[in-house]
Amino acid sequence: MTFKLAVTGGKGGTGKTVVAVNLAAALSSEFKVLLVDADVDGPSTTALLRARMRHTEEVRIFKPVIDPSTCKACGRCAEVCREHALAYAKGVTPILFEELCSGCKACLLACEYGAIREGWRVLGYIHEGEAGSIQLRVGELKPGEARSPIVARALKVKVERELNGYDVVVIDTAPGIHNAVVQALWGVDLALAVTEPTPLGLHDLRILLDLLDELKIKAWVVLNKSDIPGGLREEVVEECRRRGLELAVEIPYDQELFEAYVRGEPLIESRIETPAQRALLDLALKVEREVKP
């Protein structure tokens, strides 16, 4: 069985991608690892890994193409479209507003005259590549498009088909708790909630942990920048205790981590030993024990 791990966190900028990339790098010495970047609004694993990308496929969705010669201008398609993407005026073939269309095919199903044929448009991309021995799949929303969940779902469906070749799949999610995050979290064995000890980090962590609880996904908390002065470390520890969750690791603030980030290298590959590097390796060991108990 492939072990599926999500790295998420509620708040933006807490260190999700840094944790995901370093975990993938650490686990890749022992396992076959697939790293999935499901932050389709702002995918950034490639920039952190100096990845080599070799293939890109489009994420396409259905769009209706209406044949005016068969269309009876009954307006049924516009009536069933809940996104109001089809504008209908009495007696005239409806007009499509592409950016509103979600590609659900309700219009296609509703048309009684076969006047709608299946067209498509591009909503985003899935890139394939690798960094060292880590295989990488990256979802990317096309700028100007709004439907991140569809791209996240297309990415997950593709990954599901590839699962057999891997021991561990590490999924880096978008910040937040919206549908695209749920798509990324769906069906994982363990979610790491990466947070920081600030009122904002704590507030967003609580929202995220409520979501994970409802989705019945096992959660570990990762406290990043744990030693920032005036931080709310105690409150985060207490939150974990209250919920009976494991505080898997505390990662202290580390300038070397930041510099490795700017250079585009996983910190764990840096030869300089720092407390943050040790913490990331500790986390990798803990995860390893979950992968092969």
Binding site: D39, G42, L48, G144, P199
Partner: protein, 298 residues
């Protein structure tokens, strides 16, 4: 009325610190309303020290499928047709995974028994709260796992516009969600000016580029705030030059790394309020002046 949006492609770059500080600083010069449009993780009020509740409203921004199990015979037509994988048949009856359902209604069209209906669904809450600084903050709060956060953002902005008119405010400051998806597009629609907050890292650089691309769709001018600018000196310099020459956006301010900013967050105050003499407060005050100039020029 002008609308100033604080956005960033990447999370955690300092949007909320910039938004709360601009609201705090510009409030002394003109009447304004702030909007927290980061509906997934609404933090703006936390950064401003909370507020007194004026108004609260549930928003039904989406619709969800519901199965009438009396009528359902478990044929699975809906499962095959659902484009979001939101339907399953369990124990001979169809069931909806509400988290995945987008309410498109395809299931209602294919069900031979007429057992599926699509109904309005509460996806979030809007609140209006008065801060101790005197101005009002409108907060959108998305229910976990929901979509259509764009509609919630639009509703929050609508509430802000109405209040602004009633209170005679001339400026609406919007703290946007990270990314470039649905809620950000709703935040940028109708904006007068975008303050893009970035940090000197490769990931932030990429995401800034994507954000500027979206702002261009709306023909909205963008200015850059480079936060934590002194963290990686050379890279910061290169990034500013690139923003100016390639993205054609001016640098509004550089903000330094300063633990006074972290301490301010921990005390739920804006940095200027906590310590007006700190490095970060000085930089934020200059930023407020610069934003004022940009707004005057529109």
């Amino acid at each position: 009325m002008k609308e100033l949006v604080i956005a960033s492609g990447k999370g955690g770059t300092g949007k909320t610190t910039v938004a709360s500080s601009l609201a705090y600083l510009l409030n002394s010069r003109r009447k304004l309303i702030a909007v927290d449009a980061d509906v997934d993780a609404p933090d703006l009020l936390l950064a401003l020290g909370g507020g007194e509740l004026l108004e609260e409203r549930a928003i039904e921004a989406s619709e969800k499928a519901r199965v009438d199990s009396e009528l359902c015979d478990g044929c699975g037509a809906c499962v095959n047709a659902c484009p979001y994988g939101a339907m399953v048949v369990e124990g001979g009856k169809a069931k909806v995974y509400t988290y995945l359902c987008e309410g498109c209604g395809v299931c209602t069209l294919v069900c031979p028994k007429g057992a599926v209906k699509v109904e309005p669904y509460v996806t979030g809450m809007l609140t209006a709260q008065r801060t101790k600084h005197g101005f009002t903050v409108i907060t959108g709060r998305l229910k976990a796992g929901e979509h259509n956060s764009g509609k919630l953002v639009s509703a929050a902005k609508e509430m802000a516009r109405k209040r602004a008119e009633a209170e005679g405010a001339e400026l609406v400051i919007v703290d946007a969600a990270p990314g470039i998806g649905c809620p950000v597009i709703a935040s940028l629609s109708g904006a007068s000016y975008v303050v893009a907050v970035a940090e000197p890292t490769p990931t932030s650089r990429r995401n800034l580029m994507r954000l500027v691309e979206v702002a261009r769709h709306f023909n909205t001018p963008v200015g850059l705030v480079l936060n934590k600018a002194d963290l990686s000196g050379e890279y910061a310099r290169q990034m500013e030059e690139w923003a100016l020459l390639e993205l054609k956006i001016p640098l509004l301010a550089e903000l330094p790394v300063d633990y006074e900013a972290v301490r301010a967050l921990a005390e739920m105050k804006t940095p200027v309020e906590l310590n007006p003499k700190s490095k970060i407060s000085y930089a934020l005050t200059l930023l407020a002046d610069r934003v004022e100039e940009e707004l005057a020029r529109l």
